[in-house]
C-alpha cells in the first residue's frame, strides 16, 4: 500500500491565533515523491484496483461515497496519453520550452502531485505542504 507519509517529513502542528482549527505541516522531497508517485499510479492502472490511500475513511461528507475520490483520480489517470507517465520521469532540463511533450508531461506531474496531496490529506487531516527539490527541480512542469 502506498503511504504518503513515507515521502513527507513532519514539521510541526500549526495553530493560528484567533482562528479555529490546527493543521500539520509537512515537507515533501519532490525528487523522491514524484518517481514513487508516478510508478504507483502506473501500478494502480495496471492492477485495476482502487488506490487504498484515496479511500475516504474519515467519511468527510455523508453524501459522498468513500470511493468517489479514488475513482475520480483513477479516471483522470486513464484519460492521460499512454506515454505521459514516461515523459514525466524525464527531467525538465531535457526539454525545450514550447515542446508539445511538455504539456502531456505536465498533466501527468500535476495529477501525481494532486494524487499525493489527496493521499496525505486523507491520512493527516488539514495540512500545509512545502514541496522542495534539491536536484535542480527536475520534476518542474
Amino acid at each position: 500500500m502506498f503511504n504518503p507519509l513515507d515521502f513527507a517529513e513532519f514539521q510541526g502542528t500549526v495553530e493560528v491565533p484567533g482562528f479555529e482549527g490546527t493543521y500539520d505541516s509537512y515537507m515533501v522531497d519532490d525528487d523522491a515523491m514524484y518517481p514513487a508517485m508516478l510508478s504507483h499510479i502506473k501500478a494502480v492502472l495496471e492492477s485495476g484496483d482502487l488506490p487504498d490511500e484515496l479511500i475516504d475513511r474519515e467519511q468527510r461528507h455523508p453524501e459522498i461515497l468513500p470511493t468517489q475520490r479514488a475513482k475520480m483520480f483513477v479516471s483522470e489517470a486513464r484519460a492521460l496519453e499512454q506515454d505521459a507517465f514516461q515523459l514525466a520521469m524525464i527531467p525538465r532540463s531535457e526539454f525545450e520550452d514550447g515542446e508539445a511533450d511538455l504539456t502531456v508531461r505536465a498533466q501527468a506531474l500535476e495529477l501525481a502531485r494532486r494524487w499525493f496531496t489527496a493521499a496525505l490529506r486523507n491520512v493527516a487531516g488539514p495540512i500545509h505542504v512545502h514541496h522542495v527539490s534539491a536536484a535542480g527541480k527536475r520534476f518542474r512542469q
Binding site: V16, R114, T117
Partner: protein, 153 residues
C-alpha cells in the same frame, strides 16, 4: 477542471498582507450559469448569472469559513514556483426537485467574499464544471479537490 483566479483576488491579497486591508469574515462558493464566463478581469458576481435559488441551492452558495477545515490544504511548491490553497469538498444536494430549480444549470463554481449585497460580492476564483450541469432530485453535485493557484509569473 480548469480554474482561474481573478485580478481582484491578487489585488486583495497584496492589500491585506501589506496594507492591513480588511478581509472578509467568510467566503462563499456559488454556482453560475454559462451565460457569462468568468475571466481574470471579473470583479463582482453581478457581472455573472447565478443559478436559480431553490431545490437545495441557496442564493449566495455555501459558506466557507477562514480556517483549516474549509481550506484544508495549503501548499508552497518550490518545484513549480507557486502557492496553492485547496477548498474542502463542496456538495449540493437536489431536494424537492432538480437543481437548477429553473433556468440554465451551473457551469461554473465561483468563490466570492461575503458582501451583504449579493451582486456586489467580489469574485475571487472560478472553476469550470466543463458542461452545464443538471442535478436530479436527491442526487448531488460534488466538487472535490478544487484548488486556487498563484504562480510566480
Amino acid at each position: 477542471m480548469a480554474s482561474l483566479q481573478t485580478n481582484r483576488l491578487r489585488f486583495n491579497l497584496l492589500g491585506s498582507y501589506f496594507r492591513a486591508a480588511a478581509v472578509p469574515t467568510n467566503f462563499f462558493a456559488a454556482l453560475t450559469e454559462t451565460t457569462t464566463a468568468p475571466t481574470v478581469d471579473t470583479n463582482t458576481k453581478g457581472e455573472l448569472t447565478e443559478v436559480a435559488n431553490g431545490n437545495g441551492y441557496v442564493t449566495g452558495g455555501i459558506q466557507l469559513s477562514r480556517n483549516s477545515t474549509d481550506f484544508d490544504v495549503l501548499t508552497e511548491d518550490d518545484t513549480n514556483d507557486r502557492a496553492i490553497i485547496q477548498i474542502k469538498d463542496m456538495v449540493w444536494t437536489a431536494s424537492g426537485g432538480p437543481i437548477p430549480a429553473s433556468g440554465a444549470g451551473p457551469r461554473w463554481m465561483i468563490v466570492t467574499d461575503d458582501n451583504v449585497t449579493q451582486g456586489s460580492r467580489e469574485v475571487l476564483a472560478a472553476f469550470d464544471l466543463v458542461s452545464e450541469r443538471t442535478v436530479s432530485d436527491t442526487q448531488t453535485l460534488t466538487v472535490q479537490n478544487a484548488e486556487m493557484r498563484l504562480t510566480a509569473a
